[in-house]
């Protein structure tokens, strides 16, 4: 456990047996255990009220667990003022509703808030602000007042404000919910660039197709517990598990498995161990090839 802080294979974050009860005896987390591999794109799945948001608040030190612990780079985190500051500098949290996060008069001012709290000097903060805005393609909004932005713009401002702190781990609560097609595509592209640059992403979502197509790992939550965590294609092929968590299988996975049964995939030239298609385009290519052969 100790001394492995710089081991690339060691998980960057771990949540062990986390318990949390909100006042009014609603148990939101009931011994939740989760591992966040370094550099992962981890999707946290589950029905409404399964504890996703509560989990994220714990992973960032906003809530204190009544049982269990959170570990960062193999070390249990502390809840002192200085420890929290360090923790929150390394683990950024983007809430679902940007109005819970964006408060300052203009976009640039709002994005400067996090970096200033990190104790950076003014010149460094200006660099961070420009960087955060550029990462989401909203440099042109810099001087706009925050209360006159559209919902999609506000979402991007909220994310830019967290990115400007350069966190190692980014927690995103329902990042694509309520965004239009263009908006979520732009957001995912930005996240992809971050991930490629080494940022670990943990996001909760109801969009199981997104989780299947985009995440490399998924964790399925149900009533405050993590039922299973693993590679997206394997976990999401477990029908009984999904049923239990109140989820459905991704459409793409269903279609790919049907292709395999129909002999278009996995049989003959391709072999049973071939990876299943993860994108619509990949599936279409297989279908077109298969139709020629049938």
């Amino acid at each position: 456990m100790t001394g492995s802080g710089h081991d690339q294979a060691a998980p960057i974050m771990e949540v062990v047996g986390l318990e949390h009860t909100y006042s009014g005896e609603v148990q939101a987390l009931a011994g939740l255990t989760l591992t966040v591999p370094r550099g992962a794109r981890l999707a946290v799945l589950g029905a409404n009220g399964c504890g996703k948001t509560t989990l994220f608040l714990h992973m960032n030190g906003s809530l204190r667990p009544s049982g269990g612990r959170v570990e960062l780079e193999g070390r249990p985190v502390g809840y002192g003022r200085r420890e929290l500051r360090d923790w929150r500098g390394r683990v950024g949290l983007v809430l679902q509703d940007p109005d819970d996060q964006v408060f300052a008069a203009t976009v640039a001012e709002d994005v400067s808030f996090g970096p200033l709290n990190l104790g950076l000097d003014e010149a460094a903060v200006r660099v961070r602000v420009a960087e955060g805005l550029a990462a989401l393609g909203i440099a042109d909004l810099a001087e706009r007042p925050t209360h006159m932005l559209s919902h999609g713009q506000k979402r991007r401002v909220a994310l830019a404000g967290v990115l400007a702190m350069r966190p190692q781990v980014l927690l995103l609560d329902e990042p694509t919910a309520g965004l239009d097609v263009r908006g979520s595509e732009a957001l995912l592209a930005a996240l992809e660039r971050l991930n490629a640059a080494g940022t670990t992403l943990v996001f909760s979502t109801h969009d199981i197709d997104l989780a299947y197509g985009w995440a490399d790992q998924v964790a399925v939550l149900d009533r405050g517990r993590c039922l299973r965590q693993g590679p997206a294609d394997r976990v999401l092929a477990d029908g009984a598990l999904l049923e239990r968590a109140g989820l459905r299988a991704p459409l793409l996975l269903d279609l790919a498995l049907a292709c395999r049964r129909a002999g278009m995939l996995g049989a003959g030239t391709l072999g049973e161990a071939d990876p299943l298609p993860r994108t619509g385009a990949a599936l279409c290519a297989i279908l077109e090839k298969g139709l020629v052969h049938v």
């Binding site: 608040l57 960032n60 949290l93 408060f103 400067s112 808030f113 996090g114 709290n117 007042p145």
Partner: protein, 253 residues
């Protein structure tokens, strides 16, 4: 029915006007200077020049639509109009009917109203050209305690969120016939108020999480935009104030 969002367009004009990037101090000096002229010099002479100067600065200078300027003045003008009879009427116990309108009383009423309207147009000049957040920042640099400035900042931000919620809630209730009758309206408004209170408390808690996640430690620090105070603009403001004062003095004699 109700358009709650309309409650906030004043700030919208301030953000969009040509004077947006000017230091709030310059605009405050101009508005305050004109206000002093309106309050110190006799209204018979000062009201019209002050009103015209405030109007010119707002509409011609800052490019705020005429309609916006007039609509800001409309509400206080309404109150003044409602109060006019009370000012004009005096009690004369010697007369057959004790309430009389004298020429002097009428003159007094008109002068008081003119002075009030002139003062209001100075305020309109300020709020239509200066976003509230700039004013809060100015007050903070002038010595307003940080905690109060931060609070004002957050309240201002949350007013817009609150109005959005109130409007959405109102539409949702109206869609379910919550305002078909007076009885239903009273009930619906009560429920809306109660619901908004709970949601506001919840929002406050979540905003706390959101700010804490970005390292909030008791002070809302942001990089304020650099707005240098322009000496030439300040000089122009003083010239304008002096001109208006002189004109008021001449007209009032």
């Amino acid at each position: 029915m109700a358009d709650w969002g309309r409650m906030a367009p004043v700030d919208r004009y301030a953000w969009a006007c040509r004077w947006r990037s000017y230091h709030p101090m310059e605009k405050t000096v101009l508005a305050a200077g004109l206000l002093v002229v309106a309050l110190v010099l006799p209204p018979a002479g000062s009201a019209a020049p002050v009103m015209m100067a405030a109007f010119a600065a707002t509409v011609i200078g800052a490019g705020v639509p005429v309609r916006a300027f007039l609509s800001v003045l409309a509400m206080p003008a309404g109150f003044l109009l409602a109060g006019l009879p009370a000012l004009a009427v005096s009690i004369d116990t010697a007369a057959a009917f004790p309430l009389v309108i004298t020429a002097e009383g009428l003159r007094q009423a008109v002068l008081v109203s003119a002075r009030a309207l002139a003062a209001m147009s100075c305020l309109a000049l300020l709020i239509l050209t200066t976003p509230v957040t700039d004013l809060v920042r100015l007050a903070r640099s002038a010595g307003l305690p940080v905690a109060i400035a931060d609070l004002a900042f957050l309240i201002h931000r949350l007013i817009f969120v609150f109005l959005e919620r109130a409007e959405a809630g109102h539409h949702a209730q109206a869609a379910r016939l919550g305002y078909v009758s007076f009885r239903a309206s009273v009930r619906s408004l009560g429920m809306l108020g109660g619901g908004l209170l709970l949601r506001s408390l919840d929002r406050g808690r979540r905003l706390n999480y959101g700010l804490a996640a970005r390292g909030y430690d008791g002070e809302l620090r942001v990089l304020a935009p650099i707005m240098p105070v322009s000496c030439s603009r300040l000089a122009w403001a003083f010239v304008m104030i002096a001109g208006v004062a002189l004109l008021s003095w001449e007209v009032g004699r």
